[in-house]
Symmetry: C3
Subunit: 441 residues, 3 copies
C-alpha cells in the first residue's frame, strides 16, 4: 500500500507536464524521477547525426489558444497540453472556420476525446479537439495563437545501473515523451521505478541491470548510437516496458525478433507452468515501441517488450481517455510483481558449467549422496527419503547437463520443475564449487 | 501464335535428323538451333577422359535395311531412323530368323510401336521393330545390312549466356541426342529457346542465365568436367528441361538433391499460392535426366528438373508413339509461360541486405512514412490509407529481415504475399539505396 | 548348447567368490575370465586420485559370524557372502539386540531375502539378514565378529582388444564387483565373453572392439582417468552390458546422453524393422550403471547401456533372489544373439565416401549397369530384371548419398531396406574401389 501511495503521488506530479521528444518537458520529468532512483541524465546536441536520423531542436511552448468569432476560448494549452499539435510551429493568425479545419485533429468515433497528435519531422501547426466541439464550431473568423519556439539544445535520456555478479547485462527501458497520457506513457517509467527498488533489495543479482529512459524511437536510436556496441557485447536480455496498466488481467509479452532468446523461452516456460500469466505476441517490425530499434537488422538484440493493455485493445490509445483512472496504480503494482518474478526466474535460467565434469563428482563425501547403498535405510522417514532422492536427481541432472550446451531452463524443462525449485540446488552446488555460472552474451 | 508457328517449323526441321550422343546428327541439330539463339558450339575429342568416362567415337550411319526371305523390306533406315539400334556396328550378313531374333527389339505391350534402343558402350547391332511385325516374320534367311561407321571426332555441346546484374548464374540445360522423338527430346530444346527469347526481353535480369545443350548423361558429365568448378562457384539455381509437352495439365518439378535450395523453395511457395501449377517430385538418383550428374556427390549443385509429362506417365516413352501430335506445340508454350513466371519469382527470392540497418531508417524524409502521427488524417481516403499502411508494413518487414539471415522468399512467406507483390517495394528501397541484392552462391 | 554348458560352468565358478570394488575377490574373478579371453589385467594403486575420487584400499575378509544369546549362528560368511555388509570394518563385540539392530540390513517387503548392501566410502560394520530372521531374534546379548582388513593394494580392471580394419573403436564394458549375484553381476561379463568369441570369428571387422571389465562407478571413473582421452578420440560407439538375463522377452537399451548417436539410431532403426527386439529408454543421469560416467559432462561419449531385465523390473534386484535360476543361461545366449546382430548392423551403418563422385561412375563397364537401353531385354526373366534394377537403385543411391553428409543408416532408411541388405552392395562397391569406409569418431 505504501508503494501504491508513492507511485500515485509521483504520477500526479508527472502527469501535467507537457513532454515532447526534445525540450524542457522530458528534462523536467527525468529530473523528477532522478530523485527516486539514481538516474544519470545525458544529452545529445541538436543536429547531431544518430545513424540515419538527426537530433531535432527542442520544442519550447509557453501558451496556445484558439478563440472563436465571439471570443469563446475553444482550446487553451494552460488547461490541457493535449490540445496543441505536439511540435507545433508558432503561429498568430486570424482565419475562417474553413481554413481552420485543416489544422484541427479529432476522432469522429470518440466525439468527446481529445486526440494526441505529433508532427516532429515536418513543420506544421494545429489544434487537437473533441470531435463534438469541432462540430459545434460556428462559422466566422478564428484567432489561432501558438507561442512556441524551436531552440538548439539537447535530446535527453537517463540511465541507472544496478551491478550484479557478472557484467552481463539485462536492459529495461521505457520512454517519456508523451504529454498527459497515463497507460501509454507513465505506466512504463513507474513500473521501471518499482522494479529498480525491488531489484535493489535482492540479496544477489547474477546479472547487471541497466535502466534507460528517453524519448521513443529517436531516443532509442540515439541511445543505440552511443551504447549499441556495448549492448551487443554485454546484453543477455531486455524488455521495453510500455502500457503496463489498464484492465487486462494478463501481461502481454512481445518476443524479440529472434523469437527464441533465453528471455523469450523463460517467459514461455513460466507462463506454461502458471508462474506468470502472459499472452505472448510474436515479434513484428511494423508496430510497437522501441524494441523495433533494439531489434533492427544491424543490432538484433535480445530485446522483448512487456505490456499489459496494448494498442488496439483500448479506446483511449493516444487520446485523453488514457488517464489515471483507466491505467490504475494497482495494475502497475501487479505488473511489477509479475515482472519481478519473471526476472527472478531469468536469473537462474542461463548456462552453468560443471566444474567437476569428468565422471560424477563424489557427492558422498560432500554429504550429498547416501554413503550406504541400501533399500532399507531406516534412519529417515519415507517422505524424507523421497525428498532426498528428488534433490539428488536434480543435482545429478544439473551436473550432467551443465556441459556448456544446455541452459538451466532446458534442465528445468527436462526435470519438469520450476527455476525457483532449482535455485537452492544451484546455490548448494555453487557453494560446493561444483558449478559455475557462465552467462552467455 | 507467332511463337507457336516458329516453334512448329523448327520442330519439323529437327525431328527427322538421326541424332546420337556423338556424330553428325547432334552437330547438325545444334547448328540449326544456333541460328535461333547465339549458341557457341564446343567439341571434346574422341577418347578424352571425362571423369570416370571416356568420350566415345562418332557414330556415322548412312543406311540400314532388313530384308526377308522373299525380299520384303522389314526395316529401312531411310524411312525411320528409330528402326536401327542406335550406335549399331556395321553388319552385312545373312542369317536365319532364329538367329535374327536375338538382334531384334520390340515392345510386346505396344504391338504397333517401334522402340528406341541404344547400345553406346558395348558393340552390338540390331533392329527395332513393331512387335506385330516381328510376330509376322516368316521363317527363312534374312539379310541384315547396316552401313555405319565409328570415327574419331568430337562430343559436341553448345551454350549461350544472357548476362545479368550479377555474375551469379542460373543454369538451364536440355539434351539433344535422341533421334525422331518429340516429348522426350525436342520439347526441352524448344522450351529453352522460348525462354531464351523471353528472358532476353526482360528489362532487368538480377542473375546471369546460362543455357546448355548436349547429349544426355555423357554430355553433362563432359560439360561438368569443363565447367563444374565454374558452376560450383557461380550457380544459384538451375533446371534440366525435359519432357515439357504432353497432356499433363501441370508442370512436374523434381527437386535438387539438396531438396531445399532456394529454387526448390520458390517452386513450392509459388505452387502453394497458385501462381504456378506444379507437381513436386523428391529427388532420386535412380531415374531422371542430367540432374543426376549435376547433383552427383562431388558437385551437388542446386539443380532441379522441370518437366510436364514424364517417364512412366505415357506409353510413348522411348518409342515411336512419342511424336509431335502427342507432344503438342501449345503445351510447350504453356510450359514456357509457367517457367518464365517461376524465374521472375526466383529473381526476387534471394538475399538482400539492409544498407541502413542500425535502427529504422528515417522513412519520413524519404516520403515513405507519414509525418503526422494521427488517427484522423483526413487528407486521404480510407482505402488509400490501408494501401499505404500495407506498403509501409511490407517495407518495414523487408528492412527488418534483410539482415543476411533471411531470404526475400522467407519475408514473402512471413507477409503472406507473393514475390511479385514485393517486387515494386524492393525496387523502391533499392532506388533509395536502402537495400542491396546479395545473391548467395 | 556347447556355449550354454561352458557359460554355466563358468558361472558356477564365479558365483561363490566374494567380490568387492577392490580386493582379492574381483582380482580372482578377472583371472578366471582371463583364461577364456585374452584379458590384460591392470591395477591402480590405493590412494591414487582419479578425478574427484580416490582409490579406496582393498577389502580382505576372512570370516564373519553373528551368534545369538544361546549360541545360535544367525549369520555366517562361510555360508553366504551376502550376509556381511560389503566393505565392513573389522569388529569383535558383544552387544544387546537393541544395539545390534542398527547394524542389521533387511527388506521388510521380502521377508526371506538377504539384501546386498555396501558402505564403501564410510566405515561401518553390519550384517544383512532376511527380515523374517531379524523378527525372530530373541532378546539378549549377541556376539558380532567380522574378521576383515583394509590393505593398501590396487583397484583392478581388465581389457581385451579385437583389432579391426580401422582404429575407430567400439567399446563394450561390464562390471565385476558384486558378490554372489547373478543377473546384476555375472550376466554382463558372461555375455561379454560370448560376444568376444563371436566377434573373433567374424571374417571382417570394420571397427576395433575393446572389452573392459572392472568395478562399477569407481572402476569406470578410474578407467576414464587413464583411457578417457583415447576413447574421446577413437570411440564410435559403445555399450555397458548389464542385467542381460531374466525373464524379459526383449532387450532394454538405454540411449547415450546425446540420444542420437549412430548406435542410438541403429538400435532404433533395427528395432523398428523387427531385426532386433528392444525397449528403448531415454538417457538419465540419475540411475543406471557406468554409462553415467562415460556420458558425464566432460566426456559425453557415445555410450549406451544394454540390458534385459533391469532395476525396478524384478524383485531380486540387489538381494539373494538374484540367482542363477532367475537369470537363466539361455537368456544370456539370446541377449548375445541380439547384440551380435546389432553390432553387425552397426558395422555397415557409418559414413562411406564415394571415390568417384563427379557425375555417376560408368557402371556399365564394371558390369553393374545394363549396356542396352531397352524395355525389352529378353535375356533375363522379369524377376531377375527386377532384382537387377533394385540392386542398381541401391548402388546409385549409395553412391549419390555417400557424400560425407549421410550415414549408410540414413541411406538404408531412404531405401527402406535393412543394413544387412545393403552389406553385399557396399562390399561390391568397395571391391570396385568406388566406395571407402570413413568411420567418424
Amino acid at each position: 500500500m505504501e508503494e501504491a501511495g508513492e507511485l500515485s503521488a509521483l504520477f500526479d506530479r508527472l502527469f501535467p507536464i507537457c513532454r515532447s521528444i526534445c525540450g524542457p518537458g522530458i528534462r523536467e520529468s527525468l529530473q523528477l524521477l532522478a530523485k527516486e532512483m539514481p538516474l544519470r541524465i545525458s544529452g545529445i546536441l541538436t543536429g547531431t547525426r544518430v545513424f540515419d536520423w538527426k537530433v531535432p531542436p527542442e520544442w519550447h511552448i509557453r501558451a496556445a489558444t484558439l478563440c472563436g468569432p465571439d471570443g469563446t476560448l475553444y482550446a487553451d494549452f494552460a488547461r490541457s497540453n493535449l490540445c496543441v499539435l505536439n511540435f507545433s510551429e508558432p503561429v498568430d493568425i486570424e482565419l475562417d472556420r474553413e481554413e481552420l479545419l485543416s489544422h484541427l485533429h479529432y476522432i469522429p468515433e470518440l466525439p468527446g476525446a481529445t486526440p494526441y497528435v505529433t508532427s516532429y519531422y515536418r513543420r506544421r501547426w494545429g489544434f487537437c479537439l473533441p470531435h463534438e466541439l469541432v462540430c459545434s464550431l460556428p462559422p466566422g473568423r478564428y484567432r489561432a495563437r501558438i507561442d512556441s519556439e524551436f531552440r538548439d539544445g539537447e535530446l535527453n535520456y537517463a540511465e541507472a545501473v544496478l551491478p550484479g555478479d557478472s557484467d552481463r547485462e539485462f536492459l529495461l527501458t521505457s520512454y517519456l515523451c508523451h504529454p498527459s497520457l497515463a497507460n501509454n506513457e507513465l505506466s512504463g517509467p513507474l513500473v521501471m521505478l518499482s522494479l529498480y527498488r525491488r531489484l535493489s533489495a535482492w540479496k544477489r543479482r547474477r546479472f547487471t541491470y541497466r535502466f534507460v529512459l528517453g524519448p521513443e524511437t529517436i531516443g532509442s536510436i540515439a541511445y543505440l548510437s552511443v551504447m549499441g556496441e556495448h549492448l551487443r557485447r554485454h546484453m543477455v536480455g531486455g524488455m521495453v516496458l510500455t502500457c503496463l496498466g489498464g484492465p487486462a488481467s494478463e501481461l502481454s509479452y512481445k518476443t524479440s525478433k529472434r523469437q527464441n532468446t533465453l528471455l523469450d523461452q523463460v517467459v514461455e516456460y513460466m507462463n506454461e507452468r502458471g508462474e506468470i500469466a502472459v499472452r505472448i505476441r510474436a515479434f513484428t517490425p511494423t508496430t510497437g515501441s522501441d524494441e523495433r530499434q533494439y531489434c533492427s537488422a544491424g543490432f538484433n538484440l535480445p530485446m522483448g517488450q512487456m505490456a499489459r493493455t496494448v494498442y488496439g485493445e483500448y479506446a483511449g490509445y493516444h487520446n485523453s481517455l488514457d488517464d489515471k483512472e483507466f491505467m490504475g496504480i494497482a495494475a502497475l503494482i501487479q505488473s511489477a510483481d509479475q515482472i519481478e518474478r519473471l526476472l527472478a526466474g531469468f536469473e537462474e535460467a542461463g548456462t552453468f558449467t560443471n566444474l567437476c565434469p569428468f565422471g560424477e563428482p563424489q557427492l558422498g563425501r560432500r554429504d550429498l549422496y547416501p554413503t550406504l547403498n541400501s533399500h532399507a535405510n531406516r534412519e529417515k522417514s519415507c517422505d524424507s527419503l523421497a525428498d532426498q532422492r528428488e534433490m539428488l536427481n536434480q543435482m545429478l541432472t544439473i551436473l550432467s547437463y551443465s556441459d556448456g550446451e544446455h541452459t538451466m531452463l532446458s534442465i528445468a524443462r527436462r526435470l519438469g520443475c520450476s527455476l525457483r525449485d532449482l535455485a537452492p540446488r544451484i546455490a548448494r552446488l555453487e557453494q560446493q564449487q561444483l558449478l559455475l555460472h557462465r552467462p552467455d552474451a
